[in-house]
């Protein structure tokens, strides 16, 4: 059972209170009609799926019902931090660099 810190509620809850929402920072291309099928497929389907540190989204479904970003090591499930969406996107480059 993962114990996940919700950055809004400022408290740690059990995994069952949350729902997983996939890799973080996947952005819809602003001009879909101007990109190639390859780029569109990359956005829609391709994932990093790393074995190691992973930035991912969770929603506190049975709590505040807000989305946030978690850094978790997929090899050992250690959670290294969680950020509200606003903070995660403001510090996106930094978070990605320190992966």
């Amino acid at each position: 059972m993962l114990l996940i810190p919700c950055p809004y509620c400022q408290h740690i809850f059990e995994e069952e209170d949350f729902a997983y929402a996939g890799e973080a920072f996947i952005e819809r291309p602003p001009q879909p009609e101007q990109i190639s099928d390859q780029e569109w497929a990359d956005y829609l389907f391709m994932r990093n799926n790393p074995k190691g540190p992973h930035l991912e989204q969770w929603i506190h479904a049975a709590g505040c019902r807000k989305f946030f970003v978690v850094k978790r090591n997929t090899a050992n499930n250690r959670i290294e931090g969680s950020w509200t969406m606003a903070k995660a996107h403001a510090g996106k480059n930094d978070l990605l660099e320190r992966l």
């Binding site: 059972m1 993962l2 391709m46 990093n48 790393p50 992973h54 991912e56 997929t74 499930n77």
Partner: protein, 415 residues
């Protein structure tokens, strides 16, 4: 040595102490024509068919652990081919036919037991989907049957087909040729048969990098040194994205833990395979007498081979929903295997943008049933550098062209 009644008798005379090693355990050579990365069922089957059907001789299978130590020998061993789409039902039926003669072709008893597979329906929509799938199976020449609740009551006495159940069972699809097989026998049988044809099965050898020059594969770096090869085929299930990242390739895969359980051994109580998508669990009873129970995947990406305990609880609830009589049965062991799920719940079998590099992955939660067919079409794909007709729809390009093969309905475990 050919396994037979005669060899069993002869070895019995010396107290079964002189059986030869089933497969050799060689040191890696410095170069091979073809390297298969991953010594699970699919990888070993690929090597076997490359050697037996395509006359290839200089092949190595690299396995980071040991043969029969991964998902191949830790799954719920369910076999069936009653998929919805033409592309996938053809591929799984190809595999099903191979299962039916596998014991003979490997000279190794895989304990195939065609005891039938039921997929239960709990809602009207489930039943409509079941009828649609059974009709599609008829058209594809695959045996299938819609079974009513009343018939289920007679055929599976332990099943709670009561109107008062929380999720009442309204009926099921049934594939009589479906069933189970002994998973480690599949790994061992393919390993032995491949080794006999000269395939080097190298255990404790982890691939750490894939070398290229001019976008063509030249070999692999491993924990036991660099090995040259002009063709490298990755069959690494949950770790496929890790291998792909070695050449900068991104795959449409997410790896998840998938848990399975076995109970203590008991007298025969369930003589078939029962699967339910709606309450989400599946169960059969092994020849040893333990109940083999499968769960749904853990929601998050992970490589921890563990999974979360609340999944155990939900699976137990689902099993008890169907079989209340099992409420006092104790579970013996739990296993979390890493499965590579694909957005359309179908595998990826074929070439990659890198010349000489092939991937066979994305089988998700249902790869075991495909073992012979997957190895067979993948071997053809490697030998001809061109996809086997049955594998062609499962190329990586389908995510670009949009020709996805949506099997979320017939893949019994939700992805």
């Amino acid at each position: 040595m050919k396994y037979s009644l005669l060899s069993l008798f002869r070895q019995g005379l010396s107290g079964h102490r002189n059986w030869p090693q089933a497969w050799t355990n060689p040191k890696p050579e410095s170069a091979y024509d073809i390297i298969i990365v991953g010594g699970g069922g699919h990888g070993l089957a690929t090597a076997f068919y490359l050697a037996s059907e395509h006359g290839k001789s200089n092949i190595a299978v690299l396995e980071k652990g040991y043969i029969g130590g991964g998902n191949t020998a830790r799954n719920t061993t369910i076999l069936r081919s009653n998929y919805l789409r033409d592309e996938s039902s053809r591929l799984f039926e190809h595999s099903m036919r191979m299962w039916e003669s596998l014991t003979d072709s490997l000279n190794f008893n895989v304990l195939l037991s065609q005891r039938g597979v039921y997929n239960l329906g709990h809602t009207l929509q489930d039943m409509r989907d079941i009828e649609r799938r059974v009709n599609a199976n008829y058209l594809g020449g695959i045996d299938a049957e819609v079974v009513s609740a009343q018939e289920l009551r007679e055929r599976i006495p332990l099943l709670n087909v009561s109107e008062h159940a929380r999720y009442p069972i309204l009926g099921a699809s049934y594939q009589a040729r479906g069933g189970i097989a002994r998973h480690d026998a599949v790994a061992w049988g393919y390993a032995r048969a491949a080794s006999k044809l000269g395939v080097d099965i190298i255990q404790q050898c982890e691939v750490t990098g894939i070398e290229r020059s001019n976008n063509t594969v030249t070999g692999v770096n491993t924990s036991r040194g660099f090995i040259r090869a002009s063709q490298v085929a990755c069959v690494t299930a949950g770790h496929s994205s890790v291998l792909a990242a070695m050449v900068g390739l991104r795959l449409p895969l997410e790896s998840h833990p998938l848990q399975a359980f076995v109970s203590e051994s008991m007298q025969p109580v369930i003589d078939t395979v029962v699967m339910s998508n709606t309450v989400h669990a599946y169960i059969s009873q092994s020849d040893k007498g333990d109940l083999v129970i499968g769960a749904g995947i853990d929601s998050y990406n992970g490589y921890s081979q563990r999974g979360s305990p609340h999944i155990n609880e939900h699976t137990a609830q689902a099993i008890l929903e169907m079989f209340p009589a099992l409420s006092r049965v104790r579970l013996n062991r739990q296993w979390g295997g890493i499965v590579d799920t694909c957005p359309d719940a179908c595998p990826i079998v074929g070439k990659t943008p890198v010349q000489g590099l092939y991937f066979n992955c994305g089988w998700g939660t249902g790869g075991f049933k495909a073992t012979p067919g997957s190895g067979h079409v993948f071997a053809h794909t490697i030998a001809h550098d061109e996809p086997h007709p049955l594998a062609a729809p499962f190329s990586l390009e389908r995510f670009c062209t949009g020709h996805l093969i949506d099997e979320h309905g017939a893949a019994a475990v939700a992805h």
